[in-house]
């Protein structure tokens, strides 16, 4: 039957929720890294015991944690107390240094601002090597580690895409989405708020903006190559050229790896939102959680509704069974929805109100796993044998 392990990053620590394949009874472990903000945790698809976590704080900066036993114990890679203090290398698992001269990006007021590392938003373990992991960081850049997160090196080609013109969204200027193409190890998609989506076809050396077809109504140039506030990308591993996007406003899809996007918002009550996910076994079944607007970051009409399309967009149905349908004013952040790959695909979401919900049947029925965690920033799911 299999089982699942749900990795939840919150504003005040991390939690691991575990259940068997029925997904009815849950074991809650945590808080791990209590008091710290945990932006994201994700397990290696090659070694389910290997989990990476981004832990950060305004006081103490960035810390990277790694578990080799499924989250029971954690270590800072390379941070062991040395036997010989004189010759020990300094800890570097939290050392994110831009290649060359960092350069500048645009600031909110139109002035320039130097690129400064602030935190890791997203960790994406490699599909081919358990010691390789990518980090999307603020200020926006992509880093890669090939030694299990002990040391990091920027892939600077991404910031060669006119990064001096990139500007932060309200939450900062960050690489928040990293999609690895399971059929082509050289292809990676990333998304940056507020610069847009980008693709590499040579393993991260060179990049191309892939924003044609996107519309943002306040951009002076309606056909601008960059400058879009992309909130999230998602793909199904069986069709990696089909990518879905939650843009600031608008839900979009491309059938040609980002060369052209089309609007598939269809009958959504509002097409503003953050997360977007694809069903594990149905490449045309996708999920979004619309919120009222960019000025009111909570769900529409006081109802937490997940919208499902079985047609790859345009035709949407609300999923409400088991979700609060009155007096609800939460949001679901961009990294806070995920799926498992059990036979009956489970859908998971975490809210800014601290609830984590599961639907064990593809969205038809929902149940809260926990009600009162801190603000949920990220949810990832590991499907275990």
């Amino acid at each position: 039957m299999g089982s699942v392990r749900v990795l939840v990053g919150t504003a005040k620590g991390a939690f691991i929720l575990s259940a068997d394949g029925k997904r009815e009874t849950w074991d809650i472990a945590g808080p791990f890294f209590a008091g710290w903000t945990v932006y994201h945790m994700k397990g290696s698809p090659l070694d389910t015991n290997r989990i990476y976590a981004s832990q950060c704080s305004d006081w103490f900066g960035q810390v990277i944690q790694r578990s080799n036993d499924g989250g029971k114990t954690w270590e800072q890679p390379g941070g062991d107390v040395p036997v010989d203090f004189s010759g020990a290398p300094p800890g570097a698992s939290n050392k994110f240094v831009y290649e060359g001269t960092p350069g500048t990006h645009m600031w909110y007021d139109g002035t320039t601002h130097p690129f400064e590392f602030k935190r890791v938003w997203h960790l994406e373990p490699s599909l081919t090597d358990a010691d390789t992991v990518y980090a999307g960081v603020e200020d926006a850049a992509l880093f890669r580690s090939t030694d299990g997160a002990t040391t990091w090196k920027e892939l600077p080609g991404l910031r060669e895409q006119r990064s001096n013109e990139w500007a932060p969204g309200a939450g900062g200027l960050a690489v928040h989405t990293i999609l690895l193409d399971p059929g082509n190890p050289q292809r990676i998609y990333v998304a940056i708020s507020a610069a847009g989506a980008f693709r590499t076809d040579d393993g991260g050396t060179t990049w191309t903006p892939i924003n044609r077809g996107l519309k943002s109504k306040y951009l002076p140039d309606p056909n601008a190559e960059i400058g879009y506030c992309v909130h999230r990308l998602a793909l199904h591993p069986s069709r990696p050229d089909v990518v879905y996007m939650q843009l600031h406003w608008n839900v979009m899809r491309t059938d040609n790896a980002g060369d052209l996007w089309t609007n598939v918002s269809g009958n959504l009550p509002t097409d503003f939102g953050f997360p977007i996910e694809v069903h594990a076994h149905e490449p045309e079944t996708i999920y979004v959680v619309p919120i009222k607007s960019d000025s009111e970051h909570f769900v529409h009409d006081g109802k937490l509704r997940v919208f499902r399309s079985r047609t790859g967009g345009t035709e949407w149905e609300p999923l409400t069974n088991g979700l609060p349908q009155h007096d609800c004013y939460v949001n679901v952040l961009r990294d806070a929805m995920a799926t498992d790959s059990l036979e009956d695909c489970g859908i998971y979401l975490g809210t800014t109100g601290g609830q984590v919900y599961v639907s064990p049947d593809g969205g038809d029925h929902w149940k809260a796993i926990v009600h009162d965690l801190p603000r949920v920033l990220s949810v990832e799911v590991q499907t275990l044998p």
């Binding site: 008091g35 710290w36 704080s57 305004d58 006081w59 103490f60 900066g61 960035q62 810390v63 800072q76 390379g78 941070g79 062991d80 107390v81 040395p82 203090f85 004189s86 020990a88 290398p89 300094p90 800890g91 570097a92 939290n94 050392k95 240094v97």
Partner: protein, 102 residues
């Protein structure tokens, strides 16, 4: 070169990262300054690298403060000799988080 044993007090979250209690003792070689004390901390506890000061610039993280002998030494040049009471181990060098909540 002389070696001194210095006492250092760490804030709660750094105690947890380093798996130590509120106060640690360190052997520090040469002149006792903020820099030499922090160098010794990072050699002994590499998991604290980057959490007190920047890896590259060595600048103090903005929300941390350095205290000792009832003085705020946060803005002193990092190579200024620390007070004799700290150098002798009579008083601790205190690293503390700025007060802010939420």
């Amino acid at each position: 070169m002389t070696t001194s044993v210095i006492r250092v007090m760490l804030p709660y979250h750094l105690q947890n990262l380093a798996h130590v209690g509120p106060e640690i003792s360190l052997e520090v070689e040469g002149p006792i300054t903020q820099s030499s004390v922090l160098d010794a901390i990072e050699r002994r506890y590499p998991m604290l690298c980057g959490t007190i000061r920047d890896h590259v610039t060595k600048k103090r993280r903005p929300f941390l403060r350095y205290f000792g002998c009832e003085k705020d030494m946060s803005h002193d040049p990092p190579d200024t000799p620390l007070p004799a009471a700290i150098s002798s181990g009579t008083e601790p060098f205190i690293i503390w988080g700025a007060m802010a909540g939420g």
